[in-house]
């Protein structure tokens, strides 16, 4: 960790709820002076809310935000030495360019010392003079390269120009931290690339801390010193762009950043891993027999003629991408995406090889689905407010169901499990999903899909905010509404309390 006085802002255990929905969950982060930090994640991951809490537009439900060691958690935005560049610029349309940029300066009061007639030196607060404002506005407009537009109306400017004015309006106040909320989202691709480099240059020149929010992974990699990857209000990984690309912490990060092949593998020995029906040497240490996720970046895989590499397969497709060709090779039932600059024939056998350093192994995010549930009076298990058929006899070994719905053990003791709290475990492969919303027990929306070589890992989120993680061979789309079905015998349950608490007398 950095030295204490290097830290400009520290966010400690910050959580934010909107109408009982947890949007940011126990967020912890230290940001150093002058750092360029990017919050990266898909929409709805809580990145903008976190930024708005730093700006002061939202107050955390719990936790603290410290700026230079001082608690600013409940300070209103107009008292924070922080300025924001908004997503849709939020320029003031009734003011011209100059007035927009000068807005903050005209409200600013600075400390000054004056000598009165009697020769006493006093400290007073005064507003900036017109000359001072003029000079600062010109300087800010020069930084964003728009000096000649001073007197233009906002509505006559292009999107890119408005963007620059929004930046000038923020930096003219010399904030300690500049917050940027997807500032390039509305620009076209070419303009966006230019602005990325310009912003980076601006950051270097100004030397102030930038906190940048984006869902564009390439933008984050290009610009940041540090990237904070978020999902569902939680930080997934904090690191430099290189760290995050080369050493993703989990399958979500690997899938979100860059192109990747993700497989399920098993550790079969010391630094030996089995996936794609082959045992590879690797550099990461994991306990033997542990199931893990493996990431191979397409550019790290070398193509070779058949039998000359580690694993054989059949090349099935080729797409020209400018700098390289993108090949797909089928190894058994798994797809391998490979980038290679050579133009090779497809529909023929070939082989691939990977050096141990390029095999990145991650702890599995999900091993199985775990739920807190209870048994209802019909002996069904209620998960996320919906009843599922299950075999309750597994809860108390050696019992059978009698005709009244009570469990009876061999001594004739009867148990009434109504309202009993249970822990439920369901394997990832034991859940089925269906298009037909009537077919399954509960419906939800697909919130995430990760391809793992020969199957997809899909997360279905119900209205009650419960997740069902499902391994499936079939292709689904994000935001599809589907129903979830679990076979009776696949639901594994254990009682949370001892069985004797449920004895019926």
């Amino acid at each position: 960790m950095a030295k204490k006085d290097d830290i400009i802002i520290s966010i400690q255990n910050v959580s934010k709820e909107f109408d009982d929905v947890l949007v940011v969950d126990d967020f912890n982060l230290y940001i150093k002076k002058g750092e360029f930090v990017t919050f990266l994640g898909p929409s709805g991951c809580g990145k903008t809310t976190t930024l708005r809490m730093i700006a002061g537009f939202e107050m955390p439900t719990s936790g603290k935000i410290l700026l230079n060691g001082e608690d600013i958690t409940n300070l209103p935005p107009y008292k924070r030495p922080v300025n924001t560049v908004f997503q849709r610029y939020a320029l003031f349309p009734h003011l011209d360019v100059y007035e927009n940029v000068a807005f903050g300066l005209k409200l600013k009061k600075i400390k000054a010392t004056v000598t009165d007639k009697k020769g006493n030196v006093k400290e007073i607060e005064r507003k900036l003079t017109r000359e001072e404002i003029d000079e600062k506005v010109r300087k800010a407009l020069r930084i964003v390269d728009l000096e000649e537009l001073e007197w233009r109306d906002i509505s006559t400017l292009s999107g890119g120009q408005q963007q620059r004015i929004a930046i000038a309006r923020a930096i003219v106040n010399e904030p300690e931290i500049l917050l940027l909320d997807e500032p390039l989202g509305a620009l076209d691709l070419k303009m966006r690339k230019e602005m990325q480099l310009e912003l980076k240059e601006m950051h270097r020149k100004l030397g102030i801390t930038f906190i940048y929010v984006t869902h564009d992974q390439e933008e984050a990699l290009t610009m940041s010193d540090t990237i904070v990857i978020m999902k569902d209000g939680m930080i997934q990984q904090i690191g430099t762009p290189e760290d995050i690309y080369n050493e993703p912490e989990n399958a979500f990060v690997a899938d979100f950043i860059g192109e990747s092949n993700i497989y399920e593998g098993t550790m079969v020995g010391d630094k030996k891993i089995r996936f794609l029906n082959h045992v590879f040497d690797c550099v990461d240490e994991f306990p033997i027999h542990e199931k893990v996720d493996v990431v191979l970046r397409p550019e790290d895989i070398k193509l070779a003629p058949v039998n000359q590499g580690m694993v054989n397969g059949k090349l099935t497709s080729k797409v020209f991408k400018g700098v390289h060709y993108e090949y797909v090779m089928m190894v058994g039932r798994s797809e391998v995406v490979i980038q290679d600059t050579r133009n090779l024939d497809i529909n023929c056998e070939a082989s691939i090889s990977v050096v141990p350093f390029d095999i990145h192994i991650m702890k599995k995010e999900f091993v199985s689905n775990m739920y807190d549930a209870y048994i209802d009076k019909n002996n069904k298990v209620v998960i996320s407010e919906e009843p599922f058929e299950c075999d309750v006899t597994q809860l108390i070994p050696g019992t059978v169901l009698d005709e009244d719905g009570y469990l009876v053990d061999k001594d004739g003791k009867r148990y009434d499990l109504t309202d009993a709290d249970v822990k439920v475990e369901v394997g990832l492969k034991d859940i089925e999903i269906a298009d037909d919303e009537e077919e399954g027990n509960i419906t939800g929306e697909i919130v995430s899909i990760i391809y793992k070589g020969d199957h997809y890992q899909v997360i279905v989120r119900t209205e009650e905010d419960e997740d069902f993680v499902v391994d499936t061979e079939y292709t689904w789309n994000e935001l599809d509404r589907v129903s979830v079905k679990i076979a009776k015998e696949k639901i594994k349950m254990t009682l949370k309390q001892e069985a004797k608490n449920y004895v019926k007398d």
Binding site: A55, G56, F57, P76, P77, Y78, V82, N83, T84, F86, Q87, R88, Y89, A90, L91, F92, P93, H94, F103, G104, L107, K108, D153, S155, R169, A170, N173
Partner: protein
């Protein structure tokens, strides 16, 4: 072709039915004959006698006074109300927007009667203030209604941007939100003025009986004599022209804004 001619003449007929009476009235305000249809030569006498008629002048003064003062108050209250409602949470906002629509659809006579009953119940004597309250209640929903769309059009971040740049909430409201919605405020004000100018029902129920406005005066004379005093032709012409000017002003403002976008 025939179809086109038919369509055009149909529109002309409708417009004619709508506006002919007004044009007849305007035309006959420039002649002195007591009967409409009986042209006795061009004259401005009706106008001169109109301005000499003390009763009418008093009523006109009262009408303008009540229209402007009630419009100012309801514009201020309506603006603050619209902003307040806009920044409420969704549920609260919906409720307020619904409640705000009731007086617009509610028959005026109900509002007028209930106000009268309220004032009598509270033992308040009918005076200028009760009349003003009546007119404010009549016009406020329309002011809110003409400002709300402007607030919705506004970039939702501009208020936050002002706070971010160091403006206190009151400064942000004054320097950013109000200038953004000023066209809505102006049209709300003009709407309030015109509604108040020609209102009879609420005025009749909430005024002090010695206080005459143009509408109560006209109703008064027509009720007594049955026939329309000729001077009123000049008065209605003036009112029509003033309304027309206000309407044109309102439309011009809207157009300018569109051109800029």
């Amino acid at each position: 072709m025939v179809k086109k001619i038919f369509a055009k003449s149909y529109v002309a007929l409708i417009l004619c039915l709508m506006y002919a009476p007004i044009f007849v009235l305007i035309a006959f305000s420039f002649t002195t004959s007591t009967l409409i249809g009986d042209w006795s030569g061009f004259s401005l006498e009706l106008y001169t006698s109109l301005f000499k008629n003390k009763e009418i002048m008093e009523a006109l003064k009262n009408t303008v006074l009540i229209a402007l003062s009630s419009a100012v108050v309801s514009t201020i209250l309506g603006t603050l109300g619209a902003i307040g409602i806009f920044y409420c949470k969704k549920k609260v906002r919906r409720t307020f927007e619904f409640i705000g629509q009731i007086p617009i659809l509610n028959p005026e006579i109900v509002t007028a009667l209930s106000l009268t009953i309220l004032f009598v119940f509270l033992g308040i004597k009918f005076n200028f203030i009760t009349l003003m309250i009546g007119h404010i209640i009549l016009t406020i929903p329309f002011v809110v209604l003409s400002i709300t769309p402007k607030l919705k059009q506004m970039d939702s971040n501009v208020y936050e941007a002002a706070l971010d740049l160091g403006a206190k909430p009151s400064t942000a409201l004054r320097k950013v939100v109000i200038p953004e919605i000023i066209p809505g405020i102006l049209s709300g004000f003009i709407l309030a003025v015109t509604l108040s100018l020609d209102d009879y029902i609420i005025t009749a129920f909430t005024r002090n009986n010695s206080f005459q406005t143009i509408s109560t005066y006209v109703y008064g004379v027509t009720a007594k004599k049955g026939a329309l005093p000729p001077t009123l032709r000049a008065l209605t012409t003036i009112i029509f022209i003033v309304t027309l000017v206000l309407l044109i002003l309102l439309n011009l403002k809207g157009k300018k804004k569109e051109v800029r976008r």
